[in-house]
Symmetry: C2
Subunit: 351 residues, 2 copies
């Protein structure tokens, strides 16, 4: 198979910082789209994978699954996009397309295993793996290429591809609607999108945070109320009153206090903590028939719906734009929760 050398940034070991390296991209096949990358968001998962926190990292790791760019080449069978289109690629670049999950537009749960945008086995290049968007271009099957509304700010659109759909999908799946009281726990890359979406869907949005100083910004982003979870009196006041809680906390944590906030039959959905949670009390769900659930990104169809909704409602992420060369400092700042609310790499700096 013909390949082309492409500039990228990646890590060669879990203990190494990111540095420039060359990777091979396949030539566009009949079903493929070649994208000239303009922006790529920085997701906490990028850092986990670079540092092998979840094990299973194969080096070099070239992260990046919030990719925005322009179509520069299309294969013969491609009819969804044309040269010059503004497009995006999220967390997945392939799936079996035939299993029951794929048939339900839940490619993220493909029974054969979805091919993720980086650190997955590459179906197209024997013995190789996928490399993400910290690079100048990428070649992707058209089924995994998203249409980006042209009215949106390009750079600020990048995080929609992961942080956006990760919060959108549960809000939609659990049918959050006008007038629902929705809690969003944690105001980071995921949480700030959760607040924007829940607001745009007409919910009464309560930002639930340990940090009272985040309240003002939460309200600017669309929260109607702020609930400081360390304030016992305030927590008691909101007891049993939430229709839905989106929990974006990225690490293990106590769940009982949050479960106490739910109404009867209501659900708290975990989207951040791919980690062991702290023990919760069975009574916290038995009393009130409450539910804890999880949600992982979203399918391609749902991602497109989210992007179209963002186009209509003019929703993007709040970002800090950085050069590729600043990535290691950015990682430190993400780790210490010092970013409002997502870093996006200007890929021009890599070209």
């Amino acid at each position: 198979m013909t390949t082309a050398t492409v500039k990228a940034y990646g890590a060669t070991a879990s203990t190494e910082v990111l540095k420039p390296l060359d990777i091979q991209r396949r030539a566009a096949g009949a079903d493929d789209i070649k994208i000239d990358i303009s922006y790529c968001g920085v997701c906490h998962s990028d850092i986990h994978t670079v540092r092998d926190d979840w094990k299973g990292s194969t080096y070099p790791v070239v992260p990046g699954h919030e990719i925005i760019g322009r179509v520069v080449e299309v294969g013969d069978n491609v009819n969804s996009h044309k040269i010059g289109d503004l497009v995006g690629v999220g967390c997945m670049v392939d799936s079996c397309q035939t299993c029951s999950s794929c048939e339900q537009n839940l490619e993220q749960f493909c029974e054969k295993g979805a091919t993720f945008t980086y650190n997955s086995k590459d179906k197209h290049i024997e013995g190789s793996q996928t490399y993400g968007g910290y690079s100048t271009s990428v070649v992707v099957d058209e089924k995994f290429v998203l249409r980006i509304p042209e009215n949106l700010d390009e750079a600020a659109t990048a995080p929609l591809l992961c942080a956006g759909v990760t919060t959108w999908s549960p809000l939609r799946h659990w049918k959050v609607k006008k007038g629902d009281k929705v809690g969003v726990i944690g105001l980071g890359g995921l949480g700030h999108m959760g607040v924007k979406f829940a607001n745009a869907l007409g919910a009464h949005v309560v930002m639930i945070t340990t940090s009272p100083e985040k309240g003002k910004d939460a309200k600017r982003l669309g929260a109607h109320e702020v609930l400081v979870s360390k304030d016992q009196d305030d927590m008691k006041k909101h007891q049993g009153s939430f229709d839905f809680i989106l929990n974006t906390i990225p690490v293990g944590h106590e769940m009982d206090p949050y479960l106490g906030l739910l109404k009867i039959d209501a659900t708290m959905v975990l989207v951040g903590a791919v980690e062991p949670l702290k023990p919760f009390h069975g009574g916290s769900v038995i009393m009130g028939r409450k539910r804890i659930a999880g949600s992982l990104i979203g399918g391609i169809k749902e991602t497109q719906e989210m992007l179209d909704f963002c186009g209509e409602h003019n929703i993007t992420s709040d970002i800090e734009l950085i050069d590729m060369q600043d990535i290691n400092t950015a990682y430190e700042r993400v780790t210490s929760n010092d970013v409002k609310y997502r870093f996006v790499i200007d890929i021009k700096s890599l070209k």
Copy 2:
């Protein structure tokens, strides 16, 4: 208010065994039914309350919320039951009847707090509390008195009032249907009813147990398969294949292995462990959008539906009948999980 002295068995402190004592019952009011008790089931909650395991016990505690008996007196407003009828009383004897939970027939989640059959504040006798079915008679508001199908064995019907509805309610609420693959974890008082109900609802029932020796009995009760949870290979074979899991384990336990058995979007419902669970991994629900939920007994309407279903399908509990005087030995045997599958007290022995 007129009261009558009634023979009962109860505990005067958390460290005491149960012994004979006299309690006061109110005279039947206009909305009340007086029941001559014939049988009362022994639930694990009885023991927890006697021993103050959940705190909040007020002594004397007279347990018993699986009550079967005959109507001996009815108030002027009563039209649901008449003298001589075979009736039952479960875990609740009063609720506000006006809150949103009560309006949805979920009296167990009454916003004002349901009055439980024992160890709850008694609305009818100032300064007193409710006393349960380890006694010769009881007076209960007609709304909390259930009709018992006459074709069923009286004694074996008693445990339906708690163990029955506790397992029936989640199977119905999560709409278990013909052909669903349903797991029941734990083969005790709750689990053996879960197996019978899931089978009667047409599901493919898998008994999930740590004890291979329970397999034969599980099949007799209605399980189609037995999955020994300590057998790693067998657990792997059933991975991602369950539509629903009813988890009756009464103590804190690891949940990750069981969550792995669920299909995408499927739910495991806890009905036994009113205790801190062991930590589970966020990935166990995030991957596959799975759910952990809880369920508490069931409402009065649902309890009646369950009893009618039992009448039609001739379903009762498997019981060991004991005399009131044997209760302390029975408690020891319940605690060491040595009962098939529910003790029922023959109240004749108390009269």
